[in-house]
Subunit: 314 residues, 2 copies
């Protein structure tokens, strides 16, 4: 028997023929992919891939193994699905939530797709706030949540939404007139801070304490909610990197949005407590991925073109 990771790594690499993309899809590092494939090859006693730093190709026995394994994996997932159906695992109820109303359409698309596939399962959709998002997962009042990555301590699926970042500044701010900015400017202005309840990883992503070049970022005042934070920006108390969608969803005459051309995109996707990763939940994640398309973690472009947030009508 092979380990799950060995099978998944092998089949993914056989499909992608690229270590970096394989790693991104499996949420591991390229080093790990290399190790796993190598171990598999040592075990089998022959090469499965011919690879240079320039190309990756299946060997004949590699192709054969991939062809043999693919239907078996499909069968295994099918068997599991049947067991979950029989055990009422994909029926019953699922509580899904979104965080920030502009993401609701994406979630509703996922819910619709899931509903087609599993008509027996009731899905509850609700909204959570920045302040209670974590608690709602922890106390079980929500099973799965569409939220920004990273969401520390939770399991997460692939990214479903991706958008560029813009810097929110007061209308009269010296930077307000710029065409585009570098994230390096964060070192020169106080940055409004997210509330305490949000996770360190999240804050680090949105309001890093250092610029990429290592310069410290001055901390501005803390806001309790997103609109409160925007108000602080409008008052000139600080600047705030936000997602592009804010332009459309939070147009304010007293706030200007300037593109940050060298920032990593913001990614959003489904998160849940890994302690209760049920088959039902997996089915929902699959439905969501199929319904809205997915991105693999930064650095490797998606195979299909990005779905612009604005076009996400249900």
């Amino acid at each position: 028997m092979l380990e799950r990771l060995e099978i998944e790594t092998f089949l993914t690499l056989a499909e992608e023929l690229h270590f970096g993309r394989t790693a991104a899809r499996l949420q591991i590092t390229t080093g790990r992919v290399s190790q796993v494939i190598k171990a598999l090859e040592r075990r089998v006693g022959g090469l499965l891939f011919e690879r240079t730093s320039r190309s990756v190709r299946l060997t004949p026995s590699g192709r054969r193994l991939a062809d043999d394994l693919t239907p078996l994996v499909a069968g295994m997932e099918e068997a599991l699905r049947r067991a979950a159906d029989a055990g009422k695992g994909v029926t019953g109820e699922l509580r899904a939530a979104f965080l920030g109303e502009w993401t609701a359409p994406a979630l509703l698309r996922a819910v619709a797709r899931f509903g087609e596939r599993h008509p027996d399962c009731r899905v509850d959709v609700r909204e959570v706030q920045l302040s209670n998002s974590r608690a709602s997962l922890l106390d079980g009042s929500v099973d799965v949540l569409l939220a920004s990555f990273p969401f520390d301590g939770m399991a997460c699926g692939p990214a479903l939404l991706r958008e560029g970042r813009v810097l929110a500044v007061a209308a009269g701010h010296p930077l307000a007139g710029e065409e585009r900015l570098s994230v390096e400017v964060l070192a020169d202005h106080p940055v409004v801070q997210y509330p305490q309840v949000t996770s360190v990883g999240f804050k680090q992503d949105r309001t890093p304490d250092r610029t990429p070049s290592g310069r410290p970022v001055p901390k501005g005042p803390v806001g309790g909610s997103f609109s409160e934070m925007l108000t602080l920006v409008a008052m000139g108390r600080g600047v705030l990197p936000v997602g592009e969608h804010s332009r459309q969803y939070y147009p304010r005459p007293d706030v200007a949005y300037v593109p940050l051309h060298d920032a990593q995109p913001i990614e959003r996707g489904l998160v849940w407590m890994k302690e209760n990763t049920t088959e039902r939940l997996r089915a929902f994640v699959r439905a969501a991925t199929d319904a809205v398309g997915s991105f693999h973690p930064q650095a490797y472009p998606p195979d299909r073109p990005a779905v612009p947030p604005g076009r996400l009508d249900v």
Copy 2:
């Protein structure tokens, strides 16, 4: 996808319907079996086994899942075997060794069975000594070894040989006339020690430093080889617990063997470096298991009757 351990645990339990035997076969603890099955059930969303402390039964969905999974696992192993064949993984050469000539017949049986299944693979059989057994695996001059458990730091297959223990004492020793003894007597006489090169786990098993009740065992002189150790016994320098086979293979007028009625049996099986667990090696372990029968770790009786060492003619 399921983890390998989940699949194996589930299928083994479905077959054994007993947590203890399942754990023994998989070389894990019953607690782990319980955890894994529970996790699987949580994931599927329903019970797979109905169990009391008295009985374990498959539920309908459990039976269904087992029936679905079994052929898939078989297919996976078949695919792997084919890949190994194509990649020359089960051809080439395999170096197998025995430790103590009386175990040679068992190894030769295994070699014969393996030869039938894999005529393309040349098998070299050789003998190693207590003193160089570990080194021969480490330096790659031997791939797999039939030796006593435990063999620290090496991977091992199921036990293939099992025998009771007897205490070797000098012919004139006060204990020489006894019918049977308890291992507790070890506390009352110096015990001849195995050479330094053997592993701590092995020495602990053969010449423990405490009796089961916790009394310290006095250490006698160290011998460099088995016959040297027996000579020390004959000289009255100490006693030595050995396997029953010694009666037949090391009959000495100056040494008496007295059964230890409450000692765990000595187990022997194949050991190898887990860093190069190749498909070829696995095939050999399977062949050996099929050829000589296997025991699962102490405590749970084997399904088939033990093959007495004396009957192991090739």
